[in-house]
Structure formats: C-alpha cells, structure tokens
C-alpha cells in the first residue's frame, strides 16, 4: 500500500503541467473567450501527443495502456489550467467506445458527450445543452440504458448567446437524434462512473487553482497596513479551501485506484463520493476565491469567475450532487 503518487505519476502530472503552462497559458485561453475553436487543431494534437486522449486505450490498440490513476493526475492538471474543449469526453470515448471514436485517441477527432435528458422527473423540462458542438466529430449521447453515437451534422441546434462559462460554448438541442447504439447499460454505467472520477479530477484542479490564486492574493494585497492574509478571517477561509481541495483530491485518487485495482473497495461508491466532494470543493473554493479578492474578485479581469463557472459546467456534467450522495448512501 502506497497511496502517494508514484514517480511515474508525478512525472506525468509535471509533464502536463509544463505543457499547459507553455502551450495553453491562461492569457492565451482568455483571448479566445466567447469564441469557437477555443483549442485549435494544432493544440489539440499536442494534447494528443502528450497522451491525454490515449492514456487508457490499451497498447494493443495504439494507446498508452494506463489506468484511471494516471488519468486522474493528468485531468487534475488540465482542470487547474482551465483547459477548454471536450477533453473529458474525448478521453472517455477513446477507451470506452473505441469503435465510435476513431481518431479520438490521436487527436484527429474531438468527441463530445451529452446526457440524454430524462423524459420524466424534475430535470425533464430542461432541453439538452451540448458543449463545443461546432468542433465535434462525434457526439456520444449517454442514456440510462446505453450509449449512442450521433453525427453532429445531424443535430438541429441553436447556439447559446451567452454560455455561463465563456470558455465553454453551448448549443441548445430540443430533439436529440437516437443515433447509432455503441454501448449497453453496463458501458453507460462505466461512462458515468469514470466521468464522475475524471470530472472530479478536473474539479479538484479548479479547487486547487482558486486556492493558489486566493493565497497569492492574500499574501500580496495589503489593507490596514498589512497583508490581508495576516487576518484570521482570511487565513481561515484559505485553510478551509485547502481542506476542501485536499479531501476531494484524496477521494478522487482513491476512486481512480479503486477502479484500477479490483478488490480494494467499491468503485461505484468511491466514484460517486469523489464526484460529489470535488464538485463541492470547486464551487466552494471558487466562491471563497472571489470573496478573498474583494471587489476585484467581482471583475471579469480576475479569472476567479472562470474557475467557478467551469465548476458549474463540470458539476452539471457528472450529475447533481444530491443524486451522487444518494448513490453513496445506497452502497454504504
């Protein structure tokens, strides 16, 4: 038992962090705010070359053949860098529905995903909102009883003028095509489970990113003749952020490893708990980060809001926290 990152995992995280810092610095991402093609094809290929999409595809199929643990450290870094684009769906599709996602692993095709809106229940009134539609080669529709592949060209969609996250363009789709079945209920369950864990990893990255921002600002910003970080109220907000981020990180890593290593625990329960805590940590930390920045935190210029809006996008994608909590309760 050694639950620390292995040397390989740490190196992988470091590599992705360097790639993001060099190739996708925040200023550059922000320059494309509100537009399409937030990640250009060349950038996407670089992500592919770094293995972001092929990490879990078996070596026999041309992938890297690693597992969820490796993916979770990679996605935490991508989250921290606020990397836009359908990275999670492209990654999941490459190993979960490889036949439907030809070209996903090597970055030639971007794959998106959307949950099929329920036909009854409280969410039944909201139309499907598809992210990054104009960039997609394939859209995976995740239903309760299976996965289907849809050609984006077949989708009748209306672009949303102002998406909540300016780095996640959105389309409204009233009638999602049935599409071509590419997986049954078991694969849909696996999709949702792995999505909760790796969406959780992205969310942990967001929670860590806002913690870093808040701490840096608290050290530098002075009021009443001293850094605001010397006031207990600010200190304790930052401490609570760290607790949220570290706890969620441990949960995400444990869920990833529990999926990779049969017998060490219940992967469904671990995945739901990880998604739940990561959602809450990212939203809570985004909110505290704004508060620590005071008025500046409410400006577009300071990127705190980008982390918070992205957290809402991801939190929605992996499912409302109430449902995740009920799943944990059932399996406890």
């Amino acid at each position: 038992m050694d639950f620390e990152l292995s040397e390989d995992e740490a190196a992988l995280a470091q590599g992705i962090r360097s790639l993001c810092a060099g190739r996708f610095p925040l200023e550059r991402l922000r320059a494309a705010e509100g537009g399409d093609g937030l990640v250009d094809a060349e950038g996407w290929t670089e992500l592919a070359d770094a293995g972001v999409f092929s990490l879990q595809l078996p070596e026999s199929a041309g992938g890297i053949g690693l597992g969820m643990a490796a993916s979770s450290v990679v996605f935490e870094e991508l989250g921290r860098a606020l990397l836009p684009g359908p990275i999670l769906a492209s990654h999941l599709a490459s190993y979960l529905v490889p036949d439907a996602a030809d070209g996903a692993a090597d970055g030639k095709v971007m794959v998106g995903a959307v949950r099929r809106p329920p036909t009854s229940g409280t969410e039944a009134f909201v139309p499907a909102l598809v992210e990054h539609l104009s960039s997609l080669g394939v859209l995976i529709v995740v239903g309760d009883d299976g996965l289907a592949a849809v050609d984006p060209a077949d989708v009748d969609a209306v672009r949303i003028g102002r998406p909540l996250d300016p780095l996640t363009p959105l389309w409204r789709v009233d009638e999602l095509p049935e599409g071509r079945p590419v997986g049954g209920a078991e694969q849909a369950r696996r999709w949702r489970r792995d999505q909760a864990v790796l969406g959780g990893a992205l969310l942990v990255g967001l929670a860590a990113g806002t913690l870093d921002m808040a701490v840096a600002y608290a050290k530098e910003r002075e009021q009443f003749g001293k850094p605001i970080g010397s006031f207990q109220a600010v200190k304790h907000m930052c401490a609570d952020m760290l607790v949220a981020a570290e706890t969620a990180r441990a949960a995400v890593h444990a869920a990833a490893v529990t999926i990779d290593q049969p017998g060490v625990g219940d992967p469904e329960r671990a995945a739901a708990g990880a998604g739940l805590l990561a959602s809450e940590a990212a939203i809570k930390n985004g909110k505290i980060c704004i508060q620590v920045h005071g008025g500046m935190g409410f400006t577009w210029e300071v990127p705190a809001h980008l982390y918070l809006m992205r957290a809402r996008v991801l939190s929605q994608a992996i499912g409302p926290v109430g449902g995740l909590a009920e799943l944990v309760a059932e399996l406890y």
């Binding site: 009134f125 909201v126 003028g161 009443f224 909110k287 508060q291 935190g297 809402r312």
Partner: protein, 395 residues
C-alpha cells in the same frame, strides 16, 4: 410592538399606490443595461416624475428640498414602488442616497442651492469617487492627492468602483489633503465636475459581463475650492454624516424582491415536479423564513430610527444576514434549474413547460457574490458587530 399602520400612513400609502398605478404602466420599456445615455434618460425622467408628484427626496429634510417623510413612510414608499414594479433610483442613486444627503447637512446655503435642486429634479447625475485600488476595506488609506492652488484644488490619483461615471455630471470625491500618513485626519470631500480636463474613465467589466462601475483616473484635475463640503481635512467626518441619514430602509427593496423571487421559484418547481421533493420544499421554506425574519428586522430598524433618529445596532446585523442569505437563495435557484443554469440566455423548457426563467436565476446567483463584498465585506461587518455592538476588544 405594533405592525399596524396609522391612518395617516395608510393614506400616504393609498395616494402613492394610486399615483403609481396611474404612471407606471405608461413608462416606456427599460433601457438596455449597456446603453448608458438611454439609461440616464430613462432614470432621470422617472426622477422628474417623482419630483413633479412630490416624492423626490422622500427622506430628505424639507430644507434640502425633500419630502421629509418619516422612516415608516419611507418604508411604505419602498414597499409600494416594489409592489408596482416601479423603476429603482438607477443612475440617480449616488446623488439621491449619498452625495445629496451629505450636502444637505454639510453644505453652505449657496452649495445647497446649487447642487440639491438639480439632483431632485433629475437634471444632474452624480457618481462616487471614494475607493481606490489600494484602499478598499481600509478606506482611510486613500492616496488621491489634492493640492491647493489659489481657489482651486489640483487633484491627481486613481479611484475605483465608480458607478455611472459615463453619464455623471459630478463626482463626490474624497482626496488626501493632509500628510501621506494622516489617514482619517487628512481627507477632504470635493464635488468634482465631471467635464473637467484630466479625467479619464475606464469601465470595469463585472463577472456578470456588465459594466456597472469602473476606474477613474485623475491627472491634475482642477476643482474649485467652493466645491469643498465642510473644512479641509474634515472630509472623513463629512462622509460619515451621510450614514446618519440611514433610517433602516437600506436594502428593503432587495428583501421584498427576493421574496418575489422565491415565490417564482416555487411556481417553477411546481411546474417541473421538483416541488414533490421534500428537501426542495424544506430549503425553500427555510430561505423564506429567513427572508421573513429579515423583513421583520428591517421594520424593527425603521421603528428604532423613527423613535431615536438612528436605526441602532440592527444595521450591520441586517446587512450581514441579508447578503449571506442572498447568496444561498442564488444557489437554491441554480440547483433548482439544473442544467439550464449553464446559460445566461433565457431558455424555453421542453414539453410546453414554458420559459425556465434561467436568466433570473443565473443573475441572482452571480450578483449574489457582490453582496458579501460591496458596502463592507461580511468580514468587516462581523468585525463591526463584534467590536461596536458586542464590545469585544480590537485586534
């Protein structure tokens, strides 16, 4: 304790209600929030209507040209405006709620005659230049410098969070006239004409994508000494005077508005079926009970102001409670609409469920973040409560 209104108060309410019923439906559509000249036109026209009907400066003393309504009448005024969906003060807010009251108390007869009538009539719009990039919660550390040169001050520095500067005629400005480290003791209050050379304004975009405020850059701006309110270096006291105008009616519109928002959410939840979930009802009921309590607290503060002239200890308690509550109400709205919260554009629901109203939910949620920051952060409010009300020792 009496929550009934007197006959005179009911008469005041009825007259106002009738007038509002008459004029509000005739108002044109609101201006786009991005079109500043149109907003000025709309808001100042409304102010002129209030003036003509005798409601301008509702809480100002008669000697300032106001109506000198009692705190209770002021409360009724806010209730009725909210009930009639009448416009709020808009671009007139600094003039009516802050600069004007200051001039009423601190201005010379000449200054009052010059500045007050145009505010009440909607002819002149004011903005505020208090905060600076380095002076937020710690306002007394402001550094914008004013140097006396004959009968003018020459002002250089930078202000931030200035609202409506695009359309303002005057700016109530705090400047440092004392030594660099004179803090509260070296500050002066000036009415700066916004048409002077050396003023540059850069709007700041908010996280809601709007531009409600911005940065004001002042480079050798000349302000007549005649525009100084109170003595030189006495501006801190002058500014604090305005606080004494508060009669417990702050944020009352927001409480009433939030109640309406909760009721809207309930209607939506009933339509979507979410209302069948016990925890949705419980969260909504809990938030509703808290709003009811804050509304009670507002009436308590107003009652104390009516008796003593000041709203008492309730102000900070109410501000802290409300701003934290507003954030939770925002989160509840977002949770209720689920995925629809990912769009700022108004969405139509599926299956004939009608508009989701998500633009309201998203706005309520996002604007909530400013509530615990603006007009004193929640942390500053807690300090004030602990030190001034509970008497705990300073840090």
């Amino acid at each position: 304790m009496d929550l009934r209104y007197s006959e005179a108060e009911e008469k005041f309410r009825l007259e106002l209600r009738q007038w509002l019923a008459d004029v509000v439906p005739k108002l044109g559509p609101k201006a786009s929030s991005l079109d500043w000249p149109a907003r000025r036109t709309y808001d100042t026209a409304w102010q002129r209507m209030l003036f003509d009907a005798g409601y301008a400066g509702i809480d100002w003393p008669v000697e300032g040209g106001g109506r000198a309504a009692s705190p209770v009448e002021h409360l009724i005024y806010l209730e009725e405006l909210e009930r009639a969906h009448a416009p709020y003060v808009g671009v007139n807010f600094v003039g009516l709620l802050h600069a004007g009251p200051t001039i009423v108390v601190e201005g010379t007869p000449e200054q009052r005659a010059r500045f007050l009538p145009p505010i009440l009539r909607g002819d002149e719009v004011w903005c505020q230049g208090f905060s600076e990039p380095g002076a937020g919660s710690d306002l007394a550390s402001l550094r914008t410098k004013a140097v006396r040169d004959g009968d003018e001050y020459v002002v250089t520095g930078q202000k931030i969070w200035t609202s409506h500067a695009e359309v303002a005629d005057y700016c109530e400005l705090l400047v440092r006239t004392g030594d660099d480290d004179s803090r509260h003791r070296g500050i002066t209050w000036l009415a700066m004409p916004m048409d002077r050379p050396g003023i540059d304004f850069r709007p700041l975009k908010t996280i809601a994508g709007s531009t409600e405020f911005g940065e004001l850059f002042l480079d050798g701006v000349r302000v007549p000494v005649a525009n100084r309110m109170g003595e030189e270096n006495d501006g801190w006291r002058v500014t604090m005077v305005t606080l004494s105008f508060e009669r417990g009616t702050a944020f009352v519109s927001e409480v009433l508005q939030s109640m309406g928002f909760l009721r809207d959410l309930r209607e939506m939840a009933k339509r979507t079926g979410a209302w069948s979930e016990g925890d949705v009802r419980r969260r909504m009921g809990h938030l509703g009970a808290e709003l009811d309590a804050l509304w009670a607290l507002a009436r308590r503060n107003v009652s104390q102001a009516a008796r003593t002239g000041v709203p008492g200890v309730g102000g900070s308690v109410y501000k802290l409670g409300l701003s934290e509550l507003r954030q939770r109400i925002g989160e509840f709205g977002m949770d209720l609409i689920g995925g629809a919260g990912l769009s700022w554009d108004e969405l139509e629901g599926l299956d004939g469920a009608g508009p989701i109203g998500n633009a309201d939910q998203v706005n309520t949620w996002v604007h909530g973040f400013s509530r615990t920051i603006a007009a004193g952060t929640s942390q500053i409010q807690r300090n004030i409560i602990a030190e001034r009300i509970l008497g705990l020792p300073k840090g």
